[in-house]
Symmetry: C2
Subunit: 200 residues, 2 copies
Amino acid sequence: MSKRIITISRQFGSGGHSIGEKVAEKLGIAFYDSEKLTQKIADETDFDISFIRENDEKAYSGMGMFFDLGIHGGTSFTSLSLYDQLYIAQHNAIREVAEKEPCVIVGRCADYVLEDRDDALHVLIYADNDYRASRILGEYGKRDLKIEKRMKDKDNKRMNYYKHYTNREWGDALNYHLCLNSGVIGIDECVDIIVDIAKK
Amino acid sequence: MSKRIITISRQFGSGGHSIGEKVAEKLGIAFYDSEKLTQKIADETDFDISFIRENDEKAYSGMGMFFDLGIHGGTSFTSLSLYDQLYIAQHNAIREVAEKEPCVIVGRCADYVLEDRDDALHVLIYADNDYRASRILGEYGKRDLKIEKRMKDKDNKRMNYYKHYTNREWGDALNYHLCLNSGVIGIDECVDIIVDIAKK
Protein backbone atom coordinates (compact mmCIF):
# COMPACT_ATOMS: atom_id res chain seq x y z
CA MET A 1 0.00 0.00 0.00
CA SER A 2 1.64 3.26 -1.13
CA LYS A 3 -0.41 5.41 1.25
CA ARG A 4 -0.33 3.82 4.69
CA ILE A 5 -1.74 6.87 6.50
CA ILE A 6 -4.99 8.58 5.59
CA THR A 7 -6.00 11.87 7.18
CA ILE A 8 -9.63 12.94 6.92
CA SER A 9 -10.71 16.53 7.42
CA ARG A 10 -14.45 16.88 7.36
CA GLN A 11 -17.34 19.29 7.50
CA PHE A 12 -19.81 18.66 10.32
CA GLY A 13 -22.55 16.32 9.08
CA SER A 14 -20.74 15.32 5.87
CA GLY A 15 -20.19 11.74 7.03
CA GLY A 16 -16.40 12.14 7.16
CA HIS A 17 -16.18 10.23 10.44
CA SER A 18 -18.15 7.26 9.08
CA ILE A 19 -16.15 7.32 5.85
CA GLY A 20 -12.90 7.23 7.84
CA GLU A 21 -14.17 4.31 9.94
CA LYS A 22 -15.19 2.31 6.88
CA VAL A 23 -11.91 3.04 5.06
CA ALA A 24 -9.94 1.78 8.08
CA GLU A 25 -12.10 -1.33 8.24
CA LYS A 26 -11.72 -2.09 4.52
CA LEU A 27 -7.96 -1.56 4.61
CA GLY A 28 -7.64 -3.44 7.91
CA ILE A 29 -5.76 -0.58 9.60
CA ALA A 30 -6.17 1.39 12.84
CA PHE A 31 -8.70 4.21 13.20
CA TYR A 32 -8.03 7.30 15.30
CA ASP A 33 -10.85 9.75 15.93
CA SER A 34 -11.33 12.37 18.62
CA GLU A 35 -12.23 9.82 21.29
CA LYS A 36 -9.23 7.56 20.67
CA LEU A 37 -6.76 10.46 20.51
CA THR A 38 -8.30 11.98 23.66
CA GLN A 39 -7.85 8.70 25.52
CA LYS A 40 -4.26 8.39 24.34
CA ILE A 41 -3.40 11.92 25.50
CA ALA A 42 -5.14 11.41 28.84
CA ASP A 43 -3.19 8.17 29.36
CA GLU A 44 0.18 9.66 28.45
CA THR A 45 0.11 13.26 29.72
CA ASP A 46 -1.09 15.23 32.74
CA PHE A 47 -4.17 16.50 30.89
CA ASP A 48 -7.48 15.64 32.49
CA ILE A 49 -9.78 13.76 30.09
CA SER A 50 -12.68 16.17 30.70
CA PHE A 51 -10.45 19.18 29.90
CA ILE A 52 -9.39 17.56 26.61
CA ARG A 53 -13.00 16.79 25.66
CA GLU A 54 -14.18 20.28 26.58
CA ASN A 55 -11.46 22.03 24.57
CA ASP A 56 -11.36 19.74 21.58
CA GLU A 57 -10.72 21.65 18.31
CA LYS A 58 -11.13 25.04 19.94
CA ALA A 59 -8.87 27.98 19.08
CA TYR A 60 -8.24 30.71 21.62
CA SER A 61 -6.78 33.58 19.68
CA GLY A 62 -8.96 36.66 19.83
CA MET A 63 -7.12 37.98 16.79
CA GLY A 64 -7.37 34.72 14.84
CA MET A 65 -3.67 35.15 14.15
CA PHE A 66 -1.09 32.49 13.56
CA PHE A 67 2.01 32.04 15.64
CA ASP A 68 4.57 29.43 14.80
CA LEU A 69 4.77 27.00 17.71
CA GLY A 70 8.01 25.55 16.43
CA ILE A 71 6.82 22.04 17.20
CA HIS A 72 7.91 20.58 13.89
CA GLY A 73 11.37 20.78 15.37
CA GLY A 74 10.30 18.92 18.51
CA THR A 75 11.05 21.76 20.94
CA SER A 76 8.95 21.75 24.10
CA PHE A 77 7.28 24.87 25.47
CA THR A 78 6.11 25.07 29.06
CA SER A 79 5.21 28.76 28.99
CA LEU A 80 2.39 28.25 26.48
CA SER A 81 -1.29 28.40 27.43
CA LEU A 82 -3.03 25.15 28.34
CA TYR A 83 -4.88 25.26 25.01
CA ASP A 84 -1.67 25.48 22.99
CA GLN A 85 -0.13 22.74 25.15
CA LEU A 86 -3.16 20.60 24.34
CA TYR A 87 -2.65 21.26 20.63
CA ILE A 88 0.98 20.19 20.98
CA ALA A 89 -0.03 17.03 22.84
CA GLN A 90 -2.47 16.24 19.99
CA HIS A 91 0.22 17.04 17.42
CA ASN A 92 2.66 14.67 19.13
CA ALA A 93 0.03 11.95 19.51
CA ILE A 94 -0.74 12.16 15.77
CA ARG A 95 2.95 12.02 14.81
CA GLU A 96 3.39 9.01 17.10
CA VAL A 97 0.49 6.94 15.81
CA ALA A 98 1.48 7.71 12.19
CA GLU A 99 4.99 6.49 12.95
CA LYS A 100 3.74 3.42 14.79
CA GLU A 101 1.20 1.94 12.40
CA PRO A 102 -0.83 2.38 9.20
CA CYS A 103 -3.97 4.26 10.20
CA VAL A 104 -6.84 6.62 9.41
CA ILE A 105 -6.86 9.84 11.46
CA VAL A 106 -9.93 12.09 11.55
CA GLY A 107 -9.68 15.85 12.21
CA ARG A 108 -7.24 17.68 14.50
CA CYS A 109 -5.27 19.30 11.59
CA ALA A 110 -3.73 15.89 10.87
CA ASP A 111 -3.25 16.88 7.21
CA TYR A 112 -1.01 19.74 8.36
CA VAL A 113 0.71 17.80 11.13
CA LEU A 114 1.66 15.05 8.65
CA GLU A 115 2.20 17.17 5.53
CA ASP A 116 5.86 16.13 5.29
CA ARG A 117 5.07 12.40 5.02
CA ASP A 118 5.07 10.96 1.50
CA ASP A 119 3.11 7.94 2.74
CA ALA A 120 0.09 10.02 3.78
CA LEU A 121 -3.04 10.68 1.71
CA HIS A 122 -4.89 13.83 2.75
CA VAL A 123 -8.65 13.82 2.18
CA LEU A 124 -11.35 16.47 2.68
CA ILE A 125 -15.02 15.46 2.98
CA TYR A 126 -17.82 18.03 2.73
CA ALA A 127 -21.38 18.30 1.48
CA ASP A 128 -24.19 20.72 0.73
CA ASN A 129 -26.12 22.13 3.68
CA ASP A 130 -29.39 20.27 3.02
CA TYR A 131 -27.62 16.94 2.94
CA ARG A 132 -25.66 17.73 6.10
CA ALA A 133 -28.74 18.99 7.95
CA SER A 134 -30.62 15.82 7.20
CA ARG A 135 -27.72 13.60 8.34
CA ILE A 136 -27.20 15.63 11.54
CA LEU A 137 -30.87 15.45 12.49
CA GLY A 138 -30.90 11.71 11.77
CA GLU A 139 -27.74 11.02 13.76
CA TYR A 140 -27.86 13.48 16.69
CA GLY A 141 -31.57 14.38 16.79
CA LYS A 142 -33.31 17.74 17.13
CA ARG A 143 -32.10 20.36 19.60
CA ASP A 144 -33.35 23.77 20.68
CA LEU A 145 -30.78 25.46 18.49
CA LYS A 146 -31.80 25.65 14.82
CA ILE A 147 -29.96 23.23 12.55
CA GLU A 148 -28.55 26.05 10.36
CA LYS A 149 -27.07 27.68 13.47
CA ARG A 150 -25.65 24.38 14.73
CA MET A 151 -23.87 23.80 11.42
CA LYS A 152 -22.59 27.36 11.19
CA ASP A 153 -21.24 27.32 14.78
CA LYS A 154 -19.45 24.02 14.26
CA ASP A 155 -18.06 25.05 10.84
CA ASN A 156 -16.76 28.31 12.27
CA LYS A 157 -15.19 26.55 15.25
CA ARG A 158 -13.32 24.11 13.02
CA MET A 159 -12.29 26.81 10.53
CA ASN A 160 -10.90 29.00 13.33
CA TYR A 161 -9.06 26.11 14.94
CA TYR A 162 -7.55 25.10 11.60
CA LYS A 163 -6.60 28.65 10.64
CA HIS A 164 -5.17 29.35 14.09
CA TYR A 165 -2.84 26.37 14.19
CA THR A 166 -1.93 25.99 10.50
CA ASN A 167 -2.22 29.52 9.04
CA ARG A 168 -4.13 27.93 6.16
CA GLU A 169 -7.66 28.49 4.93
CA TRP A 170 -9.95 25.57 5.73
CA GLY A 171 -11.39 24.14 2.51
CA ASP A 172 -8.53 25.14 0.20
CA ALA A 173 -8.36 22.15 -2.16
CA LEU A 174 -4.62 22.57 -2.66
CA ASN A 175 -3.98 21.43 0.93
CA TYR A 176 -5.47 18.00 0.18
CA HIS A 177 -4.86 15.25 -2.37
CA LEU A 178 -8.53 14.46 -2.72
CA CYS A 179 -11.72 16.41 -1.87
CA LEU A 180 -15.11 14.73 -2.06
CA ASN A 181 -18.65 16.06 -1.81
CA SER A 182 -20.18 13.07 -0.02
CA GLY A 183 -23.76 14.21 -0.72
CA VAL A 184 -23.22 14.13 -4.48
CA ILE A 185 -20.82 11.17 -4.66
CA GLY A 186 -22.29 8.99 -1.89
CA ILE A 187 -20.74 7.75 1.36
CA ASP A 188 -19.90 4.23 0.13
CA GLU A 189 -18.51 5.57 -3.17
CA CYS A 190 -16.24 7.95 -1.22
CA VAL A 191 -14.99 4.98 0.80
CA ASP A 192 -14.23 3.00 -2.37
CA ILE A 193 -12.39 5.90 -4.03
CA ILE A 194 -10.16 6.44 -0.98
CA VAL A 195 -9.46 2.72 -0.54
CA ASP A 196 -8.55 2.34 -4.24
CA ILE A 197 -6.13 5.27 -4.15
CA ALA A 198 -4.53 4.09 -0.90
CA LYS A 199 -3.97 0.63 -2.35
CA LYS A 200 -2.38 1.78 -5.63
CA MET B 1 -25.79 8.44 -16.66
CA SER B 2 -26.76 10.68 -13.74
CA LYS B 3 -24.16 13.34 -14.54
CA ARG B 4 -24.36 14.11 -18.26
CA ILE B 5 -22.22 17.26 -18.04
CA ILE B 6 -18.75 17.40 -16.53
CA THR B 7 -16.96 20.69 -15.97
CA ILE B 8 -13.22 20.63 -15.39
CA SER B 9 -11.36 23.52 -13.78
CA ARG B 10 -7.64 23.00 -13.78
CA GLN B 11 -4.33 24.36 -12.70
CA PHE B 12 -1.84 24.99 -15.51
CA GLY B 13 0.26 21.86 -16.06
CA SER B 14 -1.93 19.58 -13.92
CA GLY B 15 -3.16 17.56 -16.90
CA GLY B 16 -6.76 18.73 -16.52
CA HIS B 17 -7.15 19.18 -20.27
CA SER B 18 -5.93 15.64 -21.04
CA ILE B 19 -8.10 14.24 -18.25
CA GLY B 20 -11.15 15.99 -19.70
CA GLU B 21 -10.40 14.67 -23.19
CA LYS B 22 -10.01 11.09 -21.93
CA VAL B 23 -13.18 11.30 -19.81
CA ALA B 24 -15.17 12.49 -22.85
CA GLU B 25 -13.71 9.67 -24.95
CA LYS B 26 -14.47 6.99 -22.34
CA LEU B 27 -18.03 8.25 -21.85
CA GLY B 28 -18.51 8.76 -25.59
CA ILE B 29 -19.64 12.38 -25.17
CA ALA B 30 -18.61 15.74 -26.68
CA PHE B 31 -15.53 17.62 -25.49
CA TYR B 32 -15.38 21.42 -25.33
CA ASP B 33 -12.09 23.12 -24.63
CA SER B 34 -10.90 26.65 -25.32
CA GLU B 35 -10.38 26.02 -29.03
CA LYS B 36 -13.82 24.51 -29.64
CA LEU B 37 -15.63 27.20 -27.64
CA THR B 38 -13.61 29.91 -29.40
CA GLN B 39 -14.60 28.52 -32.79
CA LYS B 40 -18.26 28.33 -31.77
CA ILE B 41 -18.27 31.96 -30.58
CA ALA B 42 -16.45 33.15 -33.71
CA ASP B 43 -19.00 31.31 -35.88
CA GLU B 44 -22.04 32.64 -34.06
CA THR B 45 -21.13 36.19 -32.98
CA ASP B 46 -19.34 39.26 -34.36
CA PHE B 47 -16.20 38.53 -32.34
CA ASP B 48 -13.04 38.10 -34.36
CA ILE B 49 -11.36 34.75 -33.66
CA SER B 50 -7.97 36.38 -32.98
CA PHE B 51 -9.56 38.75 -30.41
CA ILE B 52 -11.15 35.79 -28.62
CA ARG B 53 -7.86 33.86 -28.54
CA GLU B 54 -5.93 36.89 -27.33
CA ASN B 55 -8.34 37.65 -24.50
CA ASP B 56 -9.11 34.13 -23.41
CA GLU B 57 -9.55 33.88 -19.62
CA LYS B 58 -8.35 37.40 -18.98
CA ALA B 59 -9.99 39.68 -16.41
CA TYR B 60 -9.84 43.42 -16.85
CA SER B 61 -10.74 44.85 -13.49
CA GLY B 62 -7.89 46.83 -11.98
CA MET B 63 -9.60 46.51 -8.61
CA GLY B 64 -10.22 42.78 -8.94
CA MET B 65 -13.77 43.57 -7.88
CA PHE B 66 -16.91 41.67 -8.77
CA PHE B 67 -19.90 43.20 -10.47
CA ASP B 68 -23.00 41.18 -11.10
CA LEU B 69 -23.56 40.96 -14.85
CA GLY B 70 -27.09 39.70 -14.34
CA ILE B 71 -26.65 37.18 -17.12
CA HIS B 72 -28.20 34.32 -15.21
CA GLY B 73 -31.48 36.06 -15.96
CA GLY B 74 -30.68 36.27 -19.67
CA THR B 75 -30.63 40.07 -19.88
CA SER B 76 -28.40 41.45 -22.63
CA PHE B 77 -25.97 44.34 -22.08
CA THR B 78 -24.63 46.33 -25.01
CA SER B 79 -22.94 48.98 -22.89
CA LEU B 80 -20.41 46.52 -21.41
CA SER B 81 -16.75 46.46 -22.38
CA LEU B 82 -15.66 44.07 -25.14
CA TYR B 83 -14.06 41.83 -22.51
CA ASP B 84 -17.27 41.50 -20.55
CA GLN B 85 -19.22 40.93 -23.76
CA LEU B 86 -16.77 38.15 -24.58
CA TYR B 87 -17.36 36.60 -21.15
CA ILE B 88 -21.11 36.73 -21.80
CA ALA B 89 -20.65 35.12 -25.22
CA GLN B 90 -18.64 32.32 -23.55
CA HIS B 91 -21.27 32.01 -20.81
CA ASN B 92 -24.03 31.67 -23.42
CA ALA B 93 -22.01 29.20 -25.48
CA ILE B 94 -21.46 27.01 -22.39
CA ARG B 95 -25.16 27.13 -21.45
CA GLU B 96 -26.07 26.18 -25.04
CA VAL B 97 -23.74 23.19 -25.38
CA ALA B 98 -24.80 21.89 -21.94
CA GLU B 99 -28.43 22.12 -23.02
CA LYS B 100 -27.74 20.51 -26.39
CA GLU B 101 -25.71 17.42 -25.50
CA PRO B 102 -23.84 15.49 -22.80
CA CYS B 103 -20.32 16.90 -22.71
CA VAL B 104 -17.10 17.70 -20.88
CA ILE B 105 -16.26 21.43 -20.68
CA VAL B 106 -12.79 22.59 -19.65
CA GLY B 107 -12.22 25.99 -17.99
CA ARG B 108 -14.05 29.29 -18.59
CA CYS B 109 -15.80 29.25 -15.18
CA ALA B 110 -18.08 26.47 -16.47
CA ASP B 111 -18.59 25.22 -12.89
CA TYR B 112 -20.10 28.61 -12.00
CA VAL B 113 -22.01 29.04 -15.26
CA LEU B 114 -23.68 25.63 -14.79
CA GLU B 115 -23.96 25.61 -10.99
CA ASP B 116 -27.78 25.41 -11.15
CA ARG B 117 -27.78 22.17 -13.16
CA ASP B 118 -28.33 18.97 -11.16
CA ASP B 119 -26.96 16.91 -14.04
CA ALA B 120 -23.52 18.54 -13.87
CA LEU B 121 -20.47 17.19 -12.04
CA HIS B 122 -17.93 19.89 -11.18
CA VAL B 123 -14.31 18.76 -10.97
CA LEU B 124 -11.09 20.57 -10.02
CA ILE B 125 -7.70 19.20 -11.10
CA TYR B 126 -4.45 20.49 -9.58
CA ALA B 127 -0.99 19.23 -8.66
CA ASP B 128 2.20 20.11 -6.84
CA ASN B 129 4.59 22.55 -8.52
CA ASP B 130 7.34 20.01 -9.30
CA TYR B 131 4.91 17.72 -11.06
CA ARG B 132 3.39 20.59 -13.04
CA ALA B 133 6.77 22.01 -14.01
CA SER B 134 7.91 18.67 -15.39
CA ARG B 135 4.68 18.21 -17.39
CA ILE B 136 4.81 21.78 -18.77
CA LEU B 137 8.43 21.42 -19.89
CA GLY B 138 7.61 18.06 -21.51
CA GLU B 139 4.52 19.34 -23.27
CA TYR B 140 5.36 22.94 -24.23
CA GLY B 141 9.17 22.96 -24.04
CA LYS B 142 11.58 25.42 -22.47
CA ARG B 143 11.15 29.17 -22.88
CA ASP B 144 13.13 32.22 -21.85
CA LEU B 145 10.81 32.79 -18.90
CA LYS B 146 11.59 30.61 -15.88
CA ILE B 147 9.15 27.76 -15.33
CA GLU B 148 8.21 29.00 -11.82
CA LYS B 149 7.32 32.40 -13.29
CA ARG B 150 5.33 30.84 -16.14
CA MET B 151 3.26 28.82 -13.67
CA LYS B 152 2.74 31.75 -11.33
CA ASP B 153 1.65 34.08 -14.17
CA LYS B 154 -0.81 31.56 -15.55
CA ASP B 155 -2.17 30.66 -12.08
CA ASN B 156 -2.68 34.33 -11.26
CA LYS B 157 -4.36 35.03 -14.60
CA ARG B 158 -6.85 32.18 -14.08
CA MET B 159 -7.46 33.08 -10.43
CA ASN B 160 -8.17 36.71 -11.31
CA TYR B 161 -10.48 35.77 -14.17
CA TYR B 162 -12.37 33.34 -11.95
CA LYS B 163 -12.62 35.78 -9.05
CA HIS B 164 -13.65 38.64 -11.34
CA TYR B 165 -16.54 36.82 -12.98
CA THR B 166 -17.75 34.55 -10.16
CA ASN B 167 -16.84 36.44 -6.95
CA ARG B 168 -15.50 33.12 -5.66
CA GLU B 169 -12.02 32.10 -4.59
CA TRP B 170 -10.35 29.80 -7.10
CA GLY B 171 -9.45 26.51 -5.41
CA ASP B 172 -12.19 26.54 -2.75
CA ALA B 173 -13.12 22.84 -2.59
CA LEU B 174 -16.74 23.66 -1.68
CA ASN B 175 -17.36 24.98 -5.22
CA TYR B 176 -16.66 21.54 -6.69
CA HIS B 177 -18.00 18.03 -6.20
CA LEU B 178 -14.61 16.45 -6.63
CA CYS B 179 -11.04 17.81 -6.38
CA LEU B 180 -8.10 15.67 -7.44
CA ASN B 181 -4.34 16.12 -7.12
CA SER B 182 -3.35 14.49 -10.42
CA GLY B 183 0.32 14.24 -9.43
CA VAL B 184 -0.48 12.10 -6.39
CA ILE B 185 -3.44 10.17 -7.79
CA GLY B 186 -2.29 9.75 -11.41
CA ILE B 187 -3.84 11.00 -14.67
CA ASP B 188 -5.47 7.69 -15.66
CA GLU B 189 -6.76 7.11 -12.12
CA CYS B 190 -8.35 10.59 -12.15
CA VAL B 191 -10.06 9.70 -15.44
CA ASP B 192 -11.42 6.46 -13.98
CA ILE B 193 -12.73 8.14 -10.81
CA ILE B 194 -14.58 10.81 -12.82
CA VAL B 195 -16.01 8.29 -15.29
CA ASP B 196 -17.23 6.03 -12.46
CA ILE B 197 -18.97 8.90 -10.66
CA ALA B 198 -20.55 10.20 -13.87
CA LYS B 199 -21.93 6.75 -14.70
CA LYS B 200 -23.45 6.07 -11.26
